[in-house]
Symmetry: none
């Protein structure tokens, strides 16, 4: 058994199918190693192997959000621990939804006496387990794949509050258009959270800095203040111009 096993399982679960060559390229190991790791996974029925490809066996219990939570786990964890260094005990925070936000919530358990408002049931649940925290769940009806709310009561709850720091995530960062998300309602929540916060921090892992392909995505506009960005790897050159205005913090050089 190997240290790569978990990541291999995650990648296959996320993408559905992977070739041995793709995996060995991705992890930077030989194809032989991939085969050796995949073999027991196949024998235990976790994945299915055909000549030339490895397929994930469909698991109806595993929802997309949980899979995304496992993808790029290390990168998001690095990023989250770095971001948490910017937070002090006792501060009040607004946190939006998404798998990166989930990691930030996990990492925030190292802090004490926080006040949090979030529209993500996962973030709310995670942080309310920590004694001393005050957590407000914004919204009632939850979206069915990630447990986030975008209803009127969500906005009403957020607008009633005032926080020190707002922590936002994005779907991708476009080299010119900037911070993009998948739905209009997500952009609206981001704007609302930013409006009640003194500072805004974006938590963005490197996989979100994509070239200029932004089909069907919505721009986050009307931020209340100049944002900080926390990321795990140095930015690609393509994005430096857009982001030279922002303060960028890189968790891990490499």
């Amino acid at each position: 058994m190997s240290k790569y096993q978990q990541q291999i399982e995650n990648e296959i679960a996320l993408r559905g199918t992977m070739t041995v060559a793709e995996l060995s390229e991705l992890l930077g190991v030989s194809d032989q190693t991939i085969r050796r790791i995949v073999k027991p996974l196949e024998e235990s029925g976790k994945v299915q192997k055909v000549h030339g490809a490895i397929k994930s066996v469909e698991n109806p219990m595993t929802a997309p959000f949980q899979i995304r939570m496992l993808h790029n786990r290390r990168a998001k964890a690095e990023l989250a621990s770095k971001l948490v260094e910017l937070i002090e005990d006792g501060q009040s925070l607004a946190i939006d939804t998404g798998s990166t936000a989930g990691f930030v919530a996990q990492a925030l358990k190292a802090k004490r006496n926080l006040t949090i408002v979030t529209n993500s049931a996962y973030v709310a649940s995670t942080l309310s387990m920590k004694p001393g925290n005050r957590v407000f769940m914004a919204g009632t009806q939850l979206r069915d794949h990630d447990g986030a709310s975008f209803d009127r009561t969500a906005f009403a709850t957020i607008e009633r509050m005032q926080v020190d720091i707002c922590i936002l995530t994005v779907g991708q960062v476009h080299p010119e258009r900037g911070f993009l998300v998948n739905e209009q309602c997500e952009a609206d929540i981001a704007k609302a959270m930013s409006a009640i916060a003194d500072k805004t921090i974006f938590a963005i892992d490197h996989s979100k800095f994509l070239p200029a392909t932004a089909a069907g995505m919505v721009k986050i506009s009307g931020l209340a203040s100049k944002p900080k960005i926390v990321t795990d790897l140095p930015l690609p050159k393509s994005h430096c111009r857009f982001l030279k205005e922002a303060e960028v913090i890189v968790a891990k050089l490499g």
Copy 2:
């Protein structure tokens, strides 16, 4: 216990996997020390060790709650799967809070297209991950140890709805006084949920059937209908008289 143990646990839980070398680098201690600290963690099942890596046992979605749900884990799991047999795809449910409710939520992921209203952020988060479910989180401000809400909006949300089945938990069952919980607000939520449901089912593991010691507990009163009870072991004699009115389902004989 070493001062590094907690941090090591956290880092592994957050990132999913860590190598001994990474941990020793991170904490500034020798690799041998890391091994010595990890060894008891592995033996107690908190982490899993493979050559070259240490893996977290739980995935990050469920880790925090699982840990607090260790008590009577098997009993609650048995009970939950028995209870779920009473639920059909497409039904609407009201679910209250507590670790037993958490297990019920886990087990309910086997069902499809449920509509759920709950005052527990954990239950809401768990069930909203399942595509096809409609989940309503009742309440805004969450209690700081279990992520449950008992504020006015919680009651307002519950009262606005109508469900097929209401699933409740209790703090203990008193041989004469009946269903008891720790706080008045918990009893109020139970009553409110029962009022909007056609049927009420109590999920009660055997550890809740205590002799007549009920210091400082509050009775659940005003249930809308005769309740079903699902439990894991046969009832103690002391409770049979009180419960002979109720329909009792035992998950596991013995």
